[in-house]
C-alpha cells in the first residue's frame, strides 16, 4: 500500500472505480463499524461487539463461513447500506503536517497500488476547474465518519460496558436442521438490562447518546434472520 495525498492538480483527471470485490478485502464475514452509522446498519445487519486488546470494537456480521460476505455479489454489495470501513475503497486519512510545530491535519489519501485507482471507467474526483465532484465529497464524508468514529467509539462503548449493558454470548445460528453455526466471544446489548436502567444512570446514557446506540444495537440483532435467509438462498438457490 502506497498512500498518496490527493490534490486537484496532480489528480485533476484521475478516476477511481467505486466497485467492491473480494480482491479489495470485501469478502469478510464481519466488518468493523462505528457509532455514527449504527442507525443505517441496524436496518440491515446484526451489530455485535468484541473485546479486543485495544478495547471494545463493534462489528456487523456479514457471513457465517470464513471469508464469506453474504451481502457481496461479485463487485457490488446487495445491501442498502455498506459499512463505512468498506465504502472507503482505496481511500484513507493521513495526518499531514504543514510545519514542524503541529500534529498535522487529517487529509484524504488514496492507495496508488489499488487497481481501482486510475480506472478510466471509474468516477472523477475533480470537476473541470478543480472543484470537488459529488463522489469526492461522498468519500470525504465516509472518511470523516471513520476518523471521528475512531475518536468517539471507545468512550461510547466503554460507557455501554460500564453500565453493564453488554453481555457475552455465543451466537447459535441454525441455517437448516443439519447445519448450525456458532459465533463465539461476542457481546450483545442485553435487552433486559437495558430495560432495567433507571434514574440518573438512564439520564446520563440518554444525554451522551449511548442509550440510542444501545437501542439501535439491540434492535439490530433481529437481522440475523436476514443473514440466515441469505445463507439459505446460497445453499439452496431453488429455495
Amino acid at each position: 500500500m502506497t498512500p498518496v495525498q490527493i490534490n486537484n492538480i496532480d489528480h485533476a483527471d484521475l478516476r477511481v472505480s467505486p466497485r467492491a470485490g473480494a480482491a479489495f478485502g470485501d469478502a469478510a464475514n464481519q466488518a468493523l463499524v462505528f457509532p455514527a452509522e449504527f442507525e443505517e446498519l441496524q436496518r440491515e445487519f446484526a451489530i455485535i461487539f468484541r473485546r479486543r486488546d485495544e478495547g471494545l470494537q463493534a462489528y456487523v456480521l456479514l457471513g457465517l463461513d470464513r471469508d464469506e460476505n453474504l451481502y457481496l455479489v461479485g463487485d457490488y454489495w446487495t445491501s442498502r447500506y455498506v459499512p463505512a470501513s468498506h465504502q472507503r475503497g482505496p481511500f484513507s486519512i493521513g495526518m499531514v503536517r504543514s510545519s514542524g510545530d503541529d500534529i498535522g491535519e487529517p487529509m484524504l489519501h488514496f492507495d496508488i497500488d489499488d487497481a481501482r485507482v486510475g480506472d478510466d471507467t471509474g468516477l472523477p474526483l475533480f470537476l473541470e476547474h478543480g472543484g470537488n465532484t459529488p463522489y469526492l465529497n461522498h468519500v470525504t464524508a465516509v472518511l470523516r465518519l471513520l476518523y471521528e468514529g475512531m475518536e468517539t467509539a471507545p468512550p461510547a462503548y466503554a460507557a455501554l460496558d460500564e453500565a453493564g449493558l453488554l453481555t457475552p454470548v455465543t451466537l447459535t445460528v441454525d441455517v437448516s436442521e443439519e447445519r448450525r453455526y456458532t459465533v463465539p466471544d461476542v457481546l450483545v446489548v442485553d435487552i433486559e438490562r437495558l430495560a432495567a436502567v433507571t434514574g440518573e444512570a438512564l439520564e446520563q446514557l440518554h444525554k451522551t447518546g449511548v442509550l440510542r446506540l444501545a437501542i439501535l444495537a439491540a434492535a439490530s440483532l433481529g437481522n440475523i434472520q436476514q443473514l440466515i435467509a441469505r445463507k439459505q438462498l446460497l445453499l439452496d438457490p431453488a429455495g
Binding site: 510545519s99 514542524g100 510545530d101 503541529d102 470537476l127 473541470e128 476547474h129 472543484g131
Partner: protein, 343 residues
Amino acid sequence: MSAIARRTRVIEAADARTLPVAALIAEGRPTILRGIARDVPLVAAGLHGADAAIAWLKQFDGGRPVTAYRGDPAIGARFGYTDDCSALNFVRERGSLSAYLDQLLASLDDPAAPSIYIGSTDIDQYLPGLREHAALPFGDPQLVEHPPLVSIWIGNRTIASAHYDMSNNIAVTLVGRRRFTLFPPDQVANLYPGPLDPTPAGQVVSMVDFDAPDFARHPRFADALAAAEVAEMEPGDALIYPALWWHQVEALDPFNAMINYWWNTSPSFMDTPQNTLLHALLSLRDRPDHEKQGWRALFDYYVFGPAGQAAAHLPEAARGDLAPMDAQRARGLRAALLRRLNR
C-alpha cells in the same frame, strides 16, 4: 532607519479604564499610551532584571507546549526567508514554555545564542491565571462588547518583519524595549510584500531589510520611509493602532515580553477579506484592463462606497443581499458561493 523622522504621537499617563479606545482607532493613526501598564507586576519584575521577569512568568506556565521560532544567529534576529526566498530562515518547533524561558535566561549575554521567539501565544490557554495579574482593565465599551484576543510574545532580540494584521491592536510592552515602525495601509506597494505562502507567521511580510535597505531593488521603499513613523516603547508603554497598518516590531533587549489585544468590531458571520483577495486573484487580476476598470466601478458602487448606497433606491422587499448583512442572509450567501465556487 534614521531616515524616519516622524515619531508616533504620545498620550502621557494613560489609564486603561478611561482610554477612549474606539475614538483612537477611528482616528486612523497609531498612538503610544505612555505608562499605561506601569502597575503590572511583570513590569516591575522586568525592571529588576530579566531573571526576575522570567521567574515571575514561569509561575503561570500551564504546561501546554508552546510554539516557538528558532533562528540561527546568522539571520541577525530577523525572521524571514532564505536568500532565494524559497524557504523560511528559521524553524518552528514546540516545547515547554518554562524550558524556553530557562534557555533564554541561560543565554542572555551570549551573542552566539539563537534567536528565540514565542509569538502570539493565547494567555488563557498557555498561561492560565496570567490574565488576572497582567491584563489591563480597558473600560471602553468597544472592548467590552468585542472582547479581544489576548496573547503574549516572549523572546530575546528579535525582528518581526513589517506586516499587517487584520485586527485592531493594543500592544503592551512589559519587559524590554520595543520599537514599532509603522506604515499606513496605502504603503503596501512601497513595502514590497513577500510571497503569500509560505509566510513567517501567517501574514505576508515586507521583503525590505529595514536595517540595510537595497534601494536599487526596492526604490519605492524611500516613499514608504517618508510615510513611516516610529514608536519607541519602554516597559509599561503600549501602542494602539488600527487594523491593516503595516508594522515591523523589534524587541531590543536580551529578554522581552509583550501582551497584545487584538479585536475587530465586525460580527463573526462576516468572512475575512483575505479570502476575497485570494478569490480576486482567481477572478479579476488577469482580465483585460477595460474589464478590470469596469469591475473597479462595480466594486466601488457595491462594496467600497457607502454601505447603503446600492439598496437605497430599491423597495425594501426587493433589496435581497443588498440589504444590511445579517447572520441569516450570510448563510444564504455562503451556500450560494460554495455552490458556485465548486466547479
